[in-house]
């Protein structure tokens, strides 16, 4: 489904993700964890195609690439725009109806079902601007449901949400996994990861560990991740690792 082959991603030649190799099978529910600045968001951006690798490559199953859904950390969504929650969620159907297609009855039912799944049925006619932070995140999830993607990338979807909302949205994640979708989620709450995510990628620019959650979230590995993430050298020398590997 998704493979990183000696992948380096970064900004201005400074790597944010460094020589990462991993294989993520279809149907995974993978938590991406690590300290701030560990390259978690950068990795998701790279998979979504918003950032060109500085080295190595990202191999995505072509069918999944075509329907990929990506929820950025800070959406630059303009909440002052005069649009209803219903219309916003309906945008999830873009790949099916495009710029000119008509919303058919089946589409309307799916939109209503998606709104119901995130508990926003009563808010369909309200303006997006009247939603609270948690409600807006629920609406973004409803839009994701309609995108019907095989590969879903979520960047800190649970930040600043109350427990109830986190629980509800996690249920949506688990439902997606049962449907055979592949999900990568950046999460900070280790307890939450231990409870719900079967697999885990611990990142500190380099992959510290990747595998079953219980084996990854151990104190020695977490300590190593913290240590690795501390050094960010402005005057860093050119990385020679690739040359060494080839010789």
């Amino acid at each position: 489904m998704l493979r990183f082959d000696n992948l380096t991603l970064g900004y201005d030649r400074h790597p944010a993700v460094h020589h990462l190799s991993a294989d993520i099978p279809a149907g995974s529910l993978l938590a991406v964890v690590g300290p701030n600045g560990a390259g978690k968001s950068t990795l998701l951006k790279g998979i979504a195609g918003e950032l060109r690798p500085l080295g190595g490559q990202i191999l995505v199953d072509p069918a999944a690439r075509a329907t990929l859904a990506y929820l950025p950390q800070r959406g630059d969504l303009d909440q002052a725009f005069p649009i209803s929650v219903f219309d916003m969620v309906a945008m999830g159907l873009w790949r099916e109806i495009g710029p000119f297609g008509k919303l058919r009855h089946s589409h309307l039912h799916r939109i209503e079902a998606a709104l119901a799944a995130v508990g926003l049925s009563a808010f369909a006619r309200r303006a997006v601007g009247s939603l609270s932070g948690g409600q807006l995140q629920r609406a973004r999830f409803a839009r994701l449901i309609l995108q019907d993607a095989a590969l879903i990338l979520l960047d800190e979807p649970f930040a600043a949400l109350d427990a109830r909302t986190v629980e509800d949205l996690t249920a949506t994640l688990l439902q997606w996994q049962r449907e055979g979708r592949t999900i990568l989620t950046v999460v900070h709450d280790f307890d939450h990861v231990r409870r719900h995510f079967p697999t885990c990628l611990l990142l500190a620019r380099e992959a510290v560990a990747c595998g079953p959650t219980a084996e990854v979230l151990t104190e020695p590995l977490l300590a190593r991740a913290r240590q690795l993430s501390e050094a960010f050298d402005e005057q860093a020398a050119v990385c020679r690792r690739e040359d060494e590997e080839h010789s």
């Binding site: 979504a48 918003e50 990929l68 859904a69 990506y70 950025p72 959406g75 630059d76 969504l77 303009d78 725009f81 005069p82 649009i83 209803s84 916003m88 945008m91 873009w94 790949r95 495009g98 710029p99 000119f100 303006a127 839009r143 995108q147």
Partner: protein, 288 residues
């Protein structure tokens, strides 16, 4: 009553022409203004309107007071500034507002210099302030043609443009239409500014775009209502401005824009959520 409101349009052809021109502007330029407002580009519309000046001035310098030359010149200058600003935004650390500002300032200075090289102050006044009461057949046809192009173009662009304003990152994720929506829209802005400058001049063409849009935004909550309301306010203000100009013998262009401004100020005062509503006793709240 009828005497006051209708007779000027029955008696004088120039009033009827002005009315037709304003109707076309309200239908074409005002919806474009609504999207300028929603894209938070209100002031950039203003900047763009100055950018078309040197093109119009060059056309004037080469061919005299010729409609075709000034129109083509204005459109070319506007498109050059839009594209140059787009390239600079993508290639440098400057944001879009800064790159448009730099190019329009260059453009405006060049325009004023070109106009003053030849021609007298009256011509400069015509370019800067337009002549809504002096619209000839060609100008009127041009304004109508641009409106006729703008309405279907906006209908085609509506969905991508809405998404581009509301959630550009999402649009980029699901389709490649983001640049189409962005540049298509800016081209419409340039065309409508050129239409507006024949009637209201480069300085005030933006008035009939932004002011009705801002007034309508205060009253409405959906995009459809916003567009309809803005067009209505624009046309009503144009009629009021023309009548004011006729009866009080004041210049028509500024009168129209001032009427748009009056509609905006009244909206600001009276609309729900406006200045006055904040002073009224709070209405009983709902159960949920």
């Amino acid at each position: 009553m009828i005497e006051f409101f209708v007779q000027p349009f029955i008696d004088f052809e120039f009033m009827r022409r002005a009315l037709a021109g304003c109707l076309a502007l309200a239908l074409g330029a005002t919806p474009v203004g609504v999207f300028l407002l929603l894209r938070r580009m209100s002031l950039m519309g203003d900047a763009m309107s100055h950018a078309i000046l040197p093109g119009a001035a060059l056309g004037y310098l080469a061919f005299g007071l010729s409609l075709g030359a000034m129109t083509v010149g204005g459109i070319v200058a506007g498109l050059v500034v839009v594209l140059a600003a787009g390239v600079v935004t993508r290639a440098s650390v400057l944001k879009e507002d800064a790159s448009i500002a730099t190019f329009y300032l260059l453009s405006l200075a060049a325009g004023v210099m070109i106009v003053s090289l030849r021609g007298n102050n009256l011509d400069l006044l015509h370019v800067l302030f337009g002549s809504v009461l002096g619209l000839d057949d060609h100008s009127l046809l041009l304004i109508a043609a641009i409106a006729s192009l703008t309405v279907p173009a906006l209908a085609v662009l509506l969905r991508p443009l809405t998404l581009e304003c509301f959630d550009p990152a999402f649009l980029r994720g699901v389709s490649r239409l983001s640049p189409v929506a962005h540049y298509g829209f800016l081209i419409l802005v340039v065309f409508n500014l050129v239409a507006g400058f024949h009637a209201l001049g480069t300085l005030m063409a933006v008035g009939i775009m932004i002011l009705p849009a801002a007034a309508a935004r205060i009253w409405t909550r959906s995009l459809g209502a916003l567009l309809a309301c803005a067009v209505g306010i624009a046309f009503a203000s144009a009629v009021a401005g023309l009548l004011l100009s006729f009866h009080a013998d004041v210049p028509a262009g500024p009168a129209i824009v001032l009427m748009c401004g009056l509609a905006y100020l009244v909206s600001l005062l009276l609309a729900p959520g406006g200045l006055l509503a904040g002073r009224l006793p709070v209405r009983k709240h709902l159960e949920s």
